[in-house]
């Protein structure tokens, strides 16, 4: 397969970036998208040029490191996959592929296609936990029964990999899906109830401070989320937030 790649190149956070076009040949359908970029990079290195930098690590769709806006969609055209699990068989010979970093004011570019998603960490730090000591002096696990449906919903929310596709897809660069997934995970479990009021308020406050946009319910985040995190979580967070606010 022969392709034309248009890739955002930017030396560092302060430099001005631009799109650069690279032709690439010999791409096979069995390659993952990142393996295709490996081939490009090997070629660039051999030609004495600087390879394209992109975030990636586990390459099995769970660490959330890989990102990339591919032809205008986070993680490319396939649904429920991360870029590392996107295979080149989803493209055809002669295609032009536009590759950009995830764009948001809260995700500044570090280099080329790498962005800084530290804002997500800070949202979690603001309250994405249950305040129990890790000393081991806890009560027996089975003394806290949890309704299976709640446990399953909580798990579904907790599968968020923090990749930032929701922000990248949203026309407003909103981080509501990410934040609400964590709020929901705890809101659905008895362990999370004690701090529920403070948690949602603190996390939303931090989210707003980071400069993410507002939610206008376009639903793009849910569609593009590689883990299929549901919009129900955002509704739940809104409920939790308003009820927390009314409690003061």
């Amino acid at each position: 397969m022969k392709l034309t790649l248009k890739i955002w190149r930017q030396e560092n956070a302060n430099a001005k970036g631009k799109m650069v076009t690279y032709p690439i040949d010999g791409v096979e359908g069995d390659m993952s998208f990142l393996e295709m970029l490996d081939v490009l990079n090997e070629d660039l290195i051999n030609k004495g040029e600087e390879p394209v930098e992109f975030d990636h690590d586990c390459r099995e769709g769970i660490c959330g490191a890989c990102s990339l806006q591919i032809n205008g969609e986070p993680h490319g055209p396939d649904k429920l996959v991360t870029t590392c699990q996107l295979h080149m068989r989803s493209f055809k010979d002669g295609d032009t592929i536009v590759i950009e970093p995830f764009r948001a004011k809260a995700f500044p570019v570090v280099k080329d296609l790498i962005v800084d998603r530290g804002a997500f960490d800070r949202i979690q730090q603001a309250g994405g936990y249950v305040s129990v000591n890790t000393s081991g002096n806890t009560i027996d696990a089975n003394s806290i029964p949890v309704n299976k449906h709640d446990a399953d919903d909580s798990f579904a929310a907790a599968t968020c990999i923090g990749c930032g596709a929701c922000v990248a897809a949203c026309k407003n660069a909103s981080a509501m899906l990410f934040t609400s997934a964590k709020v929901s995970q705890y809101a659905l479990l008895p362990q999370g109830q004690v701090e529920a009021t403070e948690r949602v308020q603190n996390m939303v406050r931090q989210m707003d401070l980071e400069g993410f946009g507002n939610c206008s319910n376009t639903g793009a985040c849910e569609i593009e989320c590689p883990k299929g995190i549901s919009l129900e979580n955002i509704a739940r967070m809104n409920r939790e937030y308003m009820s927390a606010t009314s409690k003061g």
Binding site: N12, F120, S135, K148
Partner: protein, 667 residues
Amino acid sequence: MSVLESKIPEGPLKDKWTKHKNDINLVNPANKRNIDVIVIGTGLAGGSAAATLAELGYNVKTFCYQDSPRRAHSIAAQGGINASKNYQGDGDSDYRLFYDTVKGGDYRSREANVYRLAEVSGNIIDQCVAQGVPFAREYGGLLDNRSFGGVLVSRTFYAKGQTGQQLLLGAYSAMNRQINRGKIQSFNRHEMMDLVLVDGKARGIIARNMVTGEIERHSAHAVVLASGGYGNVFFLSTNAMGSNVMAAWRAHRRGAYFANPCYTQIHPTCIPVSGEHQSKLTLMSESLRNDGRIWVPKKKEDAIAIREGKKKPTELSEEERDYYLERRYPAFGNLVPRDVASRAAKERCDAGFGVNKTGEAVFLDFASAIKRYGKEAAFSSGNKNASEAEIIKLGKEVVEAKYGNLFQMYQKIVDQNPYETPMMIYPAVHYTMGGLWVDYNLQTTIPGCYAAGEANFSDHGANRLGASALMQGLADGYFVLPYTIGDYLSKDIRTGKIPTDSPEFDAAEKDVKDKISKLMNASGKHSVDYYHKKLGKIMWNKCGMARNAQGLQEALDEIKELREDFWANVKVPGAAEGKNAELEKAGRVADFLELGELFAKDALHRNESCGGHFREEYQTEEGEALRDDENFKYVAAWEYKGNPRDAQLHKEELDFKNIELKTRSYK
């Protein structure tokens, strides 16, 4: 040869840990505020250790090469975590978990450590549930379990196929709580480049800020290495692309002994290699072996026909299939330990029965599970004489509920529907049991330098059982290290802050900078990946699932040659100042090129087969591993002496007082 001091407490096995905790020194809370601890790696071991140490009151600095602590590779663990809770009432106990682990490790682990692991395993589950980790539950609201390879009870707790993710996010959340309190400073996109010793004690690190390229000095009263395993020495493995041995290896170069490097786990159920461009291998959880049956065709003609695409696996009748694990190991069947399952697959493929284009794959078939579950589902929903089609439909639903995400992942990668046609799998490098030698307190041979999780060697012997890595990481981090490190730090309450302007820091920083400039200024013939792939080929072919003296000898020389070529001719584009992925890789591959040689040396010296270490010269007539307890019942801890091949061997004899050494049998 010196005798390694393992510091195992006296007394009966089951009282050792309690007694030890009662005996060791503590640091009072006010003094903890004056003590700094560095933690390298933020996976299950590092994340949980950092959170607990910070909670106790120490000032903690964490370092990870990822952009967030949440991305450590523990996140990719799928199947589950073991604990001897005996919630299923199937006769489980601390002793049984201990026994299974020691036996599974082919009697090459330290009894006291393993027993402690079993002892705290239940507490891990309590801890995680309290933290809000959403484990799978039964309809009654209580925790569900499943079974894993190498054991006869159901003791594995899980969260679908994402247990590692959920546990890691639990540890990450505990870390976040401490970051929010200001007790942890988290340095992301930072790589530890060297360990700094002052007066023979670990007193800090040199780290590279991967965004700015700055070389930084960080001091502490103790350094915890929880940097994971070294499976990426094989280039292709199930490890993350960035997983590396740098932290452990630099500590080794500074005096920490490296134990049992040749003990590598080759996981039996991975997606086979598809082509030259493959960058990593993907694991299919071992939990699939609960329901999947592994087979190859009985007749070579059929195997060839399938390879050439002339026949479909579904066309073969039951009689034409060889369920070789069930045939060879009737008691454990498809649930034999990983090393046994991997070797059996290799044996069949080497004999010409492989089923994919390259001849290196076997089938993992869910057809009978689908039927069995379908029948159950139809029966319990009142449909006593369901049709075949209805049964299969219901069965697929059950299988989807259990393994849906794994099946989906398989389909994405291989482009085949595993509900319709059997999966193809092949063994791949997955975990490394070897690592930095540690005593009972998890301290390496460098005072003040600790190793936890996969980075140390201690608990899994020569082979790790499924769902035990998560258990060990969290046990070390939450429950062991925070206690034992206090004993050491209690002597440091008057030390005060460690200065970073000492000659030791100067020297270490200079070493690091020199090394970087050497890499940047090599002749520039070949890319880093070129060398990494070559190293991987040598390792896989000569130090892989089956090894022999001749191959290992060759590997020793080839790796040395490759390393010399690397330092002379590697090409690292760009600048050292700023983000440079190639420079990062170069530093890691440089260390793999040294570790690989030590690996081969260790494998060559161990004239026996045990667990993941299989020497072709030492096998029974039936092709099973042949252990030599008389001569090799020890931990091989290697001391760095310049060239890896010159490393000096130190033996820690293993003493089995509570368990009888037997030939491992899963028949």
